[in-house]
């Protein structure tokens, strides 16, 4: 396998201006003031991407993932270190960043194509595909400033994927467009993978990574903290999500624990609003382990509804088969489907030992008229 992206010892420092003096007068009057501070956005990052791999870059806001992506695309220059690239690269850092509002969709396709480094002749050849993919046939000669944000994004995405780059770099843009267009984008990315092209995807959505990527990299505070199988990287990403700032030694944890299934006594995951629910979690452990059990509830759009106390539910796992039962006395959720993640963490509640995303989905039925996620039943009276 050819290495197509080789990131070697890359560091990036930003200057942070505390007091900005950008006018000549201010610079002359305050030559010394306007202190600057150096901020390490990336420190000593090393990794390689081989031809045909799809790699996810996970990290929280401020973890340096976008900076890394910008360095790879050449928008930013690393302070030290080197990035070597082979083949053509199309980047979607911000959809439609190169668009000129005054120009028509057609002109912008050519301009954007040129910005991505593709010739006019090449764009001529794929122009119809671009228009077809973006579904903008009727609007292609309309000025872009009259486009809706969805149309804007569709056009930009259509250009970037249809120029058939060897490497596609995507920064959290899959969250745009309607669901149907999102599905189309995912389809397109799959075709890309089948053609053996490489994709670098930045996101903080674990599901996207699991759905698309072969490998995942986790960044935290500008450092690369994981690079490996999606499942392993996701687990490490989770640990940091649980708020651990403590450096810990993972080698100390030998327990090989897996979460096998989540079942309900009745077999149904439907529940009425206000009613209770019980479910059992089947866990297999190779050795004895004492830790805590954690449960998370997410909405389908990825919003965390609730996470149980990571230090308040001790479990003592014995070698072999274990069963943990979870009881929810009263579910105040409004109607919708909610995903449940379950996991076992150590007794500090910081290190994830075993984790299962979307272990179950519950369907809540609600007859009332409140809107949102949670039923508050406010009492409203005029005084």
């Amino acid at each position: 396998m050819t290495t197509i992206i080789d990131v070697e010892n890359v560091s990036k420092q930003f200057k942070i201006h505390h007091e900005r003096h950008q006018s000549l007068k201010e610079r002359l009057l305050h030559p010394k003031s306007g202190s600057t501070e150096l901020f390490d956005a990336l420190s000593d990052i090393n990794f390689k991407v081989s031809d045909g791999e799809t790699v996810g870059i996970l990290g929280h806001n401020g973890s340096g993932k976008s900076t890394l992506l910008k360095c790879i695309c050449g928008v930013l220059k690393p302070t030290s270190g080197e990035i070597r690239l082979r083949g053509s690269l199309a980047a979607l850092l911000e959809l439609g960043a190169g668009f000129q509002h005054e120009l028509s969709g057609r002109d912008n396709v050519y301009l954007y194509g040129a910005m991505l480094g593709f010739s006019r002749k090449m764009i001529d050849g794929i122009f119809d595909d671009i228009v077809a993919f973006s579904e903008l046939d009727h609007f292609i000669d309309t000025q872009v400033k009259f486009y809706s944000s969805g149309m804007y994004v569709r056009l930009a995405f259509a250009v970037a994927v249809n120029v058939n780059p060897d490497i596609l770099v995507v920064d959290e843009v899959l969250a745009v467009g309607d669901e149907r267009f999102q599905a189309k984008c995912i389809d397109r990315i799959r075709t890309f993978q089948e053609e053996g092209r490489s994709i670098l995807l930045v996101t903080h959505n674990a599901d996207t990574v699991r759905a698309i990527c072969d490998r995942a990299i986790v960044l935290n505070g500008g450092k690369l903290i994981a690079d490996g199988e999606v499942q392993d990287s996701l687990r490490i990403f989770r640990e940091y999500l649980l708020g651990s700032a403590v450096e810990h030694d993972r080698t100390g944890v030998q327990a090989n624990i897996s979460i096998d299934a989540v079942t309900t006594p009745s077999g149904s995951f439907e529940v009425r609003n206000g009613a209770g629910m019980n479910f059992d979690v089947e866990i297999t452990s190779e050795s004895a382990y004492s830790g805590n059990f954690v449960m998370e509830v997410f909405t389908r759009s990825g919003l965390l509804v609730s996470r149980s106390d990571a230090q308040g539910a001790p479990v003592n796992l014995t070698p072999g088969h274990n069963r943990v039962s979870v009881g929810l006395a009263q579910i105040p959720l409004l109607d919708g489907v909610y995903d449940i993640n379950v996991g076992v963490v150590d007794h500090h509640g910081s290190t994830v030992i075993a984790w299962r995303e979307k272990a179950a989905s519950i369907q809540v039925i609600y007859d009332g008229r409140e809107g949102g996620i949670v039923e508050l039943s406010p009492s409203i009276r005029q005084q």
């Binding site: 050819t2 197509i4 930003f14 200057k15 942070i16 201006h17 950008q22 006018s23 000549l24 007068k25 610079r27 031809d51 360095c71 790879i72 695309c73 050449g74 928008v75 930013l76 220059k77 690393p78 302070t79 030290s80 270190g81 080197e82 990035i83 070597r84 690239l85 082979r86 083949g87 980047a91 850092l93 911000e94 960043a97 190169g98 000129q100 005054e102 120009l103 002109d107 050519y110 301009l111 040129a114 910005m115 991505l116 480094g117 593709f118 010739s119 006019r120 000025q143 060897d166 089948e194 053609e195 053996g196 092209r197």
Partner: protein, 312 residues
């Protein structure tokens, strides 16, 4: 597996694809190579610049022809009727210098703020940033060519012969003008990122600069004598545009004999009486210096570019 291998055959091999390196500092040759590899982008930017400028106007690019034509007609009227200054055919003299100046001024004043104005693009899309300034220079060249053709048509109408024998020096002179304009535009676009005042300062400087260039007045007539007496003539020629303007005036204004004229009983000198070889060698020398200046400008831009993201 079969599917995967057949797909692999269709795709071009990446093993021998050239390796691009992103690192802290790129060498001058790398920078120039990157620039020349993105010529397509440059043309796209120039055409989109011009399109945007005339978007929605009924006459479109015709305006850029109409406005210099009207300027020319006004000058013709003013200087041949109201403000006779003794220089015969003054309007040709004026216009042949003015097109040079306009190109420089248009390019530099639009390029000065271009990186600040297009920060959104600079922060999100990867391309050699100098191209933004060069696109402004390119658009100025288009307007220059339009004005040049207006001048040509005007010469045809009034039946004034340019100095055909000198015409071959024009490309050299123009190349020097291009390199100088591009150098100033590139450096100013980067400097403005750090000093936002540059935009306003440049407006003032360009006005001053205009009067240091013999466009409206005649160098020989008004300045040459006194500058020579004080040994300052070479200082005046430090302004690269001076020589270019003089060359253009020599080509379009002065056919074979007109270097001076007799007005009110005095000999009025208009243009330097250099032979053709002097024009040639001076322009050639200037072109060489401007070539070096351009390389310096690209290098300076490379140094300044490193911190754009903290300033934009």
């Amino acid at each position: 597996m079969d599917d995967a291998t057949s797909a692999g055959v269709e795709r071009r091999r990446l093993d021998d694809a050239p390796v691009r390196v992103v690192s802290a500092r790129a060498s001058l040759t790398t920078r120039l190579r990157n620039l020349s590899s993105r010529r397509e982008l440059l043309t796209s930017l120039i055409t989109s610049d011009i399109r945007i400028k005339y978007k929605g106007s009924a006459l479109g690019l015709f305006w850029s022809m109409l406005s210099p034509a009207l300027t020319l007609a006004t000058y013709f009227l003013v200087f041949s009727v109201f403000l006779k200054n003794g220089i015969p055919n003054f309007v040709i003299y004026l216009f042949s210098g003015l097109i040079v100046w306009n190109m420089f001024q248009n390019a530099v004043s639009s390029a000065t703020g271009v990186i600040v104005d297009r920060a959104g693009l600079v922060k999100k899309v990867s391309f050699p940033r100098e191209i933004l300034a060069l696109a402004n220079v390119g658009a100025a060249i288009i307007y220059f060519l339009i004005q040049l053709s207006v001048l040509g048509i005007f010469l045809l109408i009034i039946g004034h012969q340019p100095a055909w024998g000198f015409l071959w020096i024009l490309p050299i002179s123009f190349a020097a003008l291009y390199l100088f304009t591009a150098s100033v535009a590139i450096v100013m676009s980067a400097v403005t990122v750090y000093l936002r005042d540059m935009r306003h300062l440049m407006d003032v400087l360009l006005q001053l600069w205009f009067w240091l260039t013999p466009v409206v007045y005649s160098y020989e007539n008004s300045l040459a004598g006194s500058l020579h007496r004080h040994g300052l003539a070479s200082l005046y020629f430090l302004n690269p545009i001076t020589l270019i303007v003089l060359t253009f005036q020599r080509i379009f204004y002065a056919n074979t004999t007109v270097h001076s004229t007799i007005a009110a009983g005095k000999i009025l000198k208009i243009l330097p009486t250099w032979p053709m070889s002097t024009y040639f060698y001076m322009n050639l020398g200037l072109l060489a210096i401007m070539g070096v200046l351009f390389l310096v400008a690209v290098t300076i831009f490379g140094r300044l570019e490193g911190n754009f993201e903290s300033e934009l």
